[in-house]
């Protein structure tokens, strides 16, 4: 099977990945370079770079009174959204993997939250939970469950919880369809063998389904963590981080720094810090999961 070892053969894999590398380098890696440059530069309020600043931007950011809280919010946000959407999305995928009448429609419905721009999605949620003209209060009043309007968002924490709920809502389809495609590619002979062995539903789930779907789901989860960590529109549309940064995540915080306070250097520093956090998490993942899966 082995071909003679030639330079061309050696180069072949690189030719296969070349288009992808070019595409990502030009349109993502170069812009990332600008972020780093800005993070270490003195940047004027209008956004012009005026010389090297060393770690001054980082010092200002880390010394900021709100940074620790914003970082904590970001972690809470990421963990809740990723964990809950993964669990719920996987369960939904299991349900939709059954054959039943109307499955096609059910699957199409699940696409809805994903097919909607996040800004609009978040606007609708804001509209639903509003105390004064919110649809939820109207619905519950009409059904006779409540008699006066309920304030669904009495505290900043409550607002944040709704934002997390909205985040889960829009992330479930992503997990669901990734899991579904994994479920679909499981060879049914595994199950047939298990049925012969007399395995029950749960045994099949934990011994066959989950281990086999895991590879495609772990990939999705890592990317999901990154996307959720960097998610912007939901928090921005619903609260803009108000009140007093209580619902800010790193991205909304740096957006305000950059475009409201005109501190683009500090904003770039915040994004570099976020990047480092994600990098550590991803490295841990790469080392643990990839080694196991590939070898």
């Amino acid at each position: 099977m082995k071909k003679p070892y030639t330079l061309l053969n050696k180069a072949e894999p690189y030719l296969w990945i070349l288009p992808s590398i070019i595409l990502m380098s030009i349109f993502i890696i170069v812009p990332i370079g600008f972020v780093f440059r800005m993070a270490f530069s003195q940047v004027t309020k209008a956004g012009l770079i005026k010389g090297f600043a060393g770690f001054a931007n980082f010092e200002k950011v880390l010394g900021g009174a709100k940074f620790a809280m914003v970082l904590k919010n970001t972690i809470v946000w990421t963990i809740f959204v990723v964990v809950l959407s993964t669990v719920l999305g996987f369960i939904l995928a299991l349900l939709l993997n059954n054959e039943f009448k109307g499955r096609k429609i059910a699957r199409a419905i699940v696409v809805f939250p994903w097919a909607t721009t996040l800004v609009i999605q978040a606007s609708v949620w804001k509209f639903i939970i509003d105390i004064d003209y919110g649809a939820l209060n109207t619905l519950l009043k009409t059904l006779g469950i409540i008699s006066t309007n309920v304030n669904w968002t009495p505290t900043p924490e409550a607002y944040f919880a709704w934002e997390i709920a909205c985040g889960i809502f829009v992330t479930i389809p992503f997990v669901c369809f990734t899991a579904l495609s994994g479920l679909q590619s499981i060879d049914s002979s595994y199950y047939e063998a298990a049925i012969v062995d007399g395995a029950n539903y749960w045994q099949k789930l934990f011994n066959i389904t989950i281990p086999l779907v895991k590879p495609s789901l772990t990939v999705a989860t890592v990317l999901n963590i990154i996307y959720v960590f960097n998610s912007f529109p939901i928090v921005w549309t619903i609260t803009k981080g108000d009140p007093a940064n209580r619902t800010d995540t790193l991205v909304t915080y740096l957006y305000k720094l950059a475009f409201y306070n005109g501190k683009q250097g500090e904003a770039a520093a915040v994004s570099v810090i976020g990047f480092l956090i994600l990098l550590v998490c991803a490295s841990v993942y790469m080392v643990s999961t990839l080694k196991k899966g590939d070898e």
Binding site: I109, A135, F174, L212, L279
Partner: protein, 284 residues
């Protein structure tokens, strides 16, 4: 999966009922925001903010759905969005499939480094990269062009494309391709004829993912596109989000139109999600 017709299996029947019940509940929860969106889109401005809220519009303002086409070039926006999303999907697949194939089927130095590179490329939010992206586009003369947005969206979606396809390819045994190679196929032919049909479910998922992401992209389009006639839908409908008034009824009506093409696309290729395996000849 057919029910045994000889005797009624109560356990199975119960689980069927339970399945329908749970799926229905989930669908209702998912559809609720759209129901709100739809009803709001049909209300008059006054009714939306009236003290006595209503679920259904008192007066069905179907005219809202017509008005938006006159107040904004919706058809043009939609066409632009289709071009952007379609183009991005094509480029992302063209670049992503070979890369995923190489990762799944070949061994080469720097494989792990490339995987790391892909992940790292995703670690900055687009909002952060705006200034750099603008600079790149400016150098290439692609600001204010659909092509620029197509490339950006394709690039942003490379990571998922490659990772998911790599997983899909790896889960498919290489035996058949090897057999085909012995029969005289080269690698590319083997990939097209054997691997890709079997990998259809994964490919469809990837297609949907890229298309939807590109369809919904807002931040970069906002900064790169200034000419009204080449704005995508997401940016274009901002016209209803004015200085003094947010025209909810129009914003939601326009948003409903924005969902339709995606759902149609999904329904038309959804069957590949299920039929991919049988097409590939894997027993099942």
């Amino acid at each position: 999966m057919t029910l045994d017709s000889a005797r009624i299996n109560w356990g199975k029947l119960l689980s069927r009922i339970l399945l329908y019940f749970v799926v229905s509940v989930i669908c209702i929860v998912i559809l609720y925001p759209y129901f709100v969106m739809f009803c709001t889109a049909l209300k008059s401005r006054q009714e939306i903010f009236s003290i006595q809220g209503t679920i259904f519009p008192k007066e069905w303002m179907w005219s809202n759905f017509i008005d938006i086409w006159q107040k904004a070039p919706m058809a043009q926006y939609m066409l632009n969005s289709i071009i952007i999303a379609g183009g991005s999907t094509a480029i992302a697949m063209i670049c992503g499939i070979p890369a995923a194939y190489a990762l799944a089927r070949m061994k080469f130095k720097g494989q792990t480094a490339f995987l790391g590179f892909i992940i790292v490329s995703q670690m900055f939010a687009p909002v952060v990269l705006l200034i750099g992206i603008y600079k790149v586009m400016q150098t290439m003369g692609l600001t204010n062009s659909l092509l620029g947005l197509i490339f950006i969206n394709a690039a942003f979606n490379q990571a998922f494309t490659i990772w998911l396809l790599r997983g899909t390819f790896m889960s498919i045994s290489a035996e058949m391709e090897q057999a085909a190679t012995i029969d005289g196929c080269n690698r590319i032919q083997a990939m097209f004829k054997i691997l890709l049909p079997v990998a259809a479910p994964g490919i469809v998922t990837t297609l949907i993912f890229i298309f939807i992401n590109a369809w919904n992209e807002y931040t970069v389009a906002l900064c790169l596109i200034s000419t009204d006639t080449i704005k995508p839908l997401t940016v274009g409908i901002n016209i209803f989000n004015g200085y003094n008034i947010i025209e909810w009824q129009y914003l939601f009506a326009a948003s409903i139109f924005a969902i339709v093409p995606v759902v149609i696309l999904f329904m038309s290729i959804e069957k590949n999600l299920t039929s991919g395996l049988t097409a590939g000849g894997v027993k099942g």
